[in-house]
């Protein structure tokens, strides 16, 4: 289990948990719920936002928000 920010770019992972807090409901509603597959598409320079691929949509998160998403890498899937 690791934070989404620690995931290498373009590597698929499964969401295990969203850290509880004020933003948790919004993240879940945007599709970051348990079991969904995510990967980092690209990172903005200077530690800026991350663009996350959720399969059917892409969402930009700041590092602070991305750290709330805990994931587990899915082996053998790369694109």
């Amino acid at each position: 289990m690791k934070q989404l920010t620690a995931l290498p770019e373009n590597r698929w992972a499964r969401v295990l948990e969203i850290q509880p807090g004020r933003l948790a409901p919004r993240l879940v509603e945007m599709g970051f719920c348990k079991g969904s597959h995510v990967r980092i598409l690209y990172k903005a320079p200077f530690n800026g936002p991350l663009a996350i691929d959720l399969g059917a949509s892409s969402v930009a998160l700041r590092v602070n928000e991305a750290e709330l998403v805990l994931v587990e890498e899915v082996k053998g899937e790369e694109s």
């Binding site: 719920c33 800026g48 969402v59």
Partner: protein, 650 residues
Amino acid sequence: MNRKIALIGNPNTGKSSLFNHLTGLRQHVGNYPGITLDKKWGECFLGDNEQVEILDLPGVYSVFPRSKDERVVMDILSNPQHIDFPDAIVIVVDASNLDRNLLLFTQVHDLGIPALLVLTMDDMNRKNGVTIDKQLLSKRLGGVAIVTVNARTGEGVDRLKRSLLAVGEKSEVIPFSPTHPIEIKEDPIAQRNDAEVRFEAIRKLLIGVVRRTDQPAHSSTRRIDSILVHRVWGYLIFLAVLLLIFQFIFRLAAIPMDLIDGWFLQLSIWAQAHMPEGAFTNLIAEGVIPGIGGVVVFVPQIAILFFFLSILEESGYMARVVFLMDRLVRPFGLNGKSVVPLMSSVACAIPGVMATRTINTFKDRIVTIMVAPLMSCSARIPVYTLLIALVIPAERVWGFFDLHGLVLLGLYALGLFSALAVAGVMKRFVKTGEPSYLILEMPMYRWPRWKELGINLVEKVRVFAWDAGRVIVAISIVLWALASYGPAHRIEKAEQEAMLSASPEEAEQLKAAARLENSYIGILGHAIEPVIKPLGYDWKMGISLITSFAAREVFVGSMATIYSVGEDFEENTVLMDRLREERWSETGEPVYTLASGMSLMVFYVYAMQCMATFAVVRRETKSWKWPIIQLVYMGVLAYVAAFITFQLLV
């Protein structure tokens, strides 16, 4: 009573396009009490004999509010007594992202309001080799009617209208989640768990509904993104886009603006000539007509800027700008979405402030609005040009930098850095209880639709002209009256004195000068001289400072009137010569020196000398509080900065 139908859906589903297809230009904009969000509704004819009212609810991912403005959705849908409570609700669902979009559907469904589901973007599915079994989906969603609509072309809208005729009573609701949305509307933890339960249910019910029949076409969005959000090319392209927009605003807007100025001048002259002489004619010809002209003259800039902003927004590029810029402006309490409004303010703060509408955290939006007028707008240019030519020697620095240009550049830089610094300070003071966050969908790239752009433009212009325009006309009439009238005996006496010493051709100009000097504003200008003397200004500048609340460039015209000379200082140097000769009566020192001129320019960097911006800020924040705070803080900043400048240079 016409039936009320609400449109709801996730952002980027084509909900607004659908609203435009249904209502065309029969749209209205109003207020919800207590929030800044505009209420949008419109009329739609379903058939020959039924007209319904369509309410466009804000784009949301859930019925539970995640910001102050989103609260309106739950307020309306949970309360059948609410005046906007709909008889039926149309849920717009992006067929290429059913999982996430259906969350909102299941919530609305469980609220028990008769519903109809509109599938948009089904063409995307076909391209990606995905088919949706609509009959099965309808069955699994409790028998809801499903209509496929292409929100871009309008294909399917007629089918939707026919289905709306039939949508009616809900018989029995089998909820998707054991918790009713209203029970948990104040409990975010329960809302989150509820969302997980609903997503689980959605995943199950979609089995067999969504079928992949083909390999997806390679996504062009990813390919475009590899350039547009590139760490080098991305920024360069954004810079180029900005430069292009400015070129258009400066070059293109100037033409209709000059025409409009000319027309209203003609209209004033015509009214003056054809109406019976008297106070009423003066009010119309000198107060009302120029006041309305002062509103209309902004329309080309607003239209051109929003034309481009709509393209950026509709195409999906704006989200990429936010992605690239967010980190750079965050230290100043701004949001990636603040960048385009602030850059727009370099042309004019009015469209800039209006463009902050896309910033969905209230605090970030307020901070952006508050600092937008510090960006050097085009109305400051005439003031700067006059003063620079007057007090800055035309020299070259290190052989090739033109000193005039350098000072002008410095004033722009001062405005920009002040805007960032003030934003950094203000983010500590604006308390909203909402956390600042960025969770922003990056939509797929799409071609903008021209009809869509047209409707957006008309709406922006309408909001500006009606809502802000009324305040602008009112203030400009007051300013005109204060500058044209004064204690009767004073004006008459001064006019007579002016006539005595003048040749006939000078008489009119001298009379105008005498009137302004002895008007209420003139008297006020005299009265504030002790206050502005430490900044290096005399009462004549005081008068011009007051009159230029109408608009910054009025400063030049007022100076010309006071000194009874022509206004065009670039071709006609009389005003400049006159200003150079001006001396303090007590000391005989020149009034316009490097110190007082720089002080005046610094004053114009900071002061909120623009009633139109004032009116637009009131319109956009839906309160008098923010424009007044802005007026005061910018005024104090202007005074202090001008004081320091003068005292350092004198």
